[in-house]
Symmetry: C2
Subunit: 274 residues, 2 copies
């Protein structure tokens, strides 16, 4: 019996926040992480293009790396391409949207939820649909400046706090205009956990902040845990993680540690042919 | 005799600021503009990847659209892939770096120049090299938040003014530390002309702002003008412009008009296979 490999996929390296949560919960699993950095950001691209890119990336993790489960650690790909990925590979695939919506359901008392995410995730209304399926009302807002601010390293900069205030004020106005009384905010992008302290500070008292990266890791544990625990007896305590990227390996190695919470080590460059 | 077609290429639609300057100067030419929007931003990718993307885009404009000249309206592609593009097509190719550096040479009295651009353009040091070849000393700075701010539409927002102030203050400190007395600032990204009013307001009195989009259009006129004028006699005053994109046509049509200064009209979706 071998230790199962969990494939984790993102368009960039933001999904390392999901990997971080997974490693904390499943230290005995083996992980292969792929960042499709040559073709990021998915957030501004069409559904057709995102589906093709995501399917190719998923196939690499399953066929080349032997992944037996896939976690799509990318809100945009989860929102727009989960079906395409499930069609492309013969293993179980878990996205971040459904776990995020389930966590919001548990957290919310009023049943009214705010969601911040990238442009493409919001345009897909995947969070609104997943929330609605759980009896929640959700208002979504695209916050396209937050990813570049995180990548610039301004995670505790006053300008970032100011921009978060502007975005959240606009979102609250819209919620009020729709007669909602939101008590929960979902972080619908894997970059946003790095802004969590500023966001916690900016929300109104009593509003709970849900991190869909953590929610997805928790859902993965519930799905995979029995199997990993059963096969990992006697495995090394040092979690095995291999990282792959389609471009900009240097940037991945340099910035990735902020997302993973420890050095990412060597990142292998691969070519998905486009 | 036919009216010659000038191909204009960018990774996105920022290069429409170059096309705008070209149309003003060569209203009788025919233009084909390609934005490789499926694969933007080039600014965060490697030289190898950028060269491949840019060569494929140039070949589309020459082979499929019959372009007899090419203007690379993208600082990153000009900085990292001009040679690769010149190797890929049999027509004259003009980038934006050399004209920008020449305009800085004309503008500067002290011989000390500041350059702001994307991460990849700065990493290439293409402006510094082009300036040095003209006897100028240049200090370059990557300003990765400015493109997303323009695309968010915050071109006259107080937060944008604040971020420009921060970037320019850092750049001035670095220039002072190197003993430079800069009197010229080069806008080394085709998105930045939309921030020109805020940037003009942020620079020290007496500092001249050079727009490399305008400089490139002027250089193109000097190269192409005789030929276009000679063959365009009797042509319609309505300049013929066809726009192509590899993705996100809707976003191109919606935002492009701010860059072009008039509606971009219908944008045709093409597939470059990656």
């Amino acid at each position: 019996m071998t230790t199962p490999t969990i494939g984790v996929f993102d368009s960039g390296f933001g999904g390392l926040t999901v990997l971080r949560s997974l490693i904390e919960r499943l230290p005995h699993a083996r992980f292969a992480f792929l960042g499709d950095t040559a073709r990021l950001p998915y957030g501004s691209k069409s559904r057709r293009t995102i589906a093709r890119y995501a399917a190719e990336s998923a196939q690499f993790l399953v066929r080349e790396q032997g992944a037996e489960f896939l976690v799509i650690a990318c809100n945009t790909a989860s929102a727009l391409a989960l079906d395409a990925i499930q069609d492309a590979v013969p293993v179980p695939v878990l996205g971040v949207i459904e776990p995020g919506a389930s966590a919001a359901r548990k957290a919310s008392t009023t049943g009214d939820v705010l969601v911040i995410a990238t442009e493409a995730t919001v345009r897909s209304h995947a969070y609104a649909a997943a929330c609605q399926a759980r009896g929640l009302r959700a208002i979504e807002k695209a916050c396209p400046l937050l990813v570049p601010l995180v990548e610039e390293g301004w995670t505790d900069h006053p300008v970032t706090a100011e921009i978060i205030d502007i975005y959240l004020a606009e979102l609250r106005s819209e919620a009020t205009a729709h007669g909602l009384r939101p008590d929960t905010l979902v972080l619908g992008c894997t970059h946003y956990p790095l802004l969590r302290p500023l966001i916690e500070h900016a929300v109104r008292p009593g509003v709970k902040v849900i991190d869909s990266a953590e929610a997805a890791a928790q859902a993965a544990v519930e799905l995979f845990n029995g199997r990993v625990a059963a096969t990992a007896t006697g495995a090394s305590a040092e979690t095995e993680v291999r990282c792959f990227a389609t471009d900009s390996v240097e940037k991945f190695e340099r910035l990735g540690s902020h997302f993973l919470g420890r050095p990412v080590g060597h990142v292998e460059l691969i070519d998905l042919g486009g």
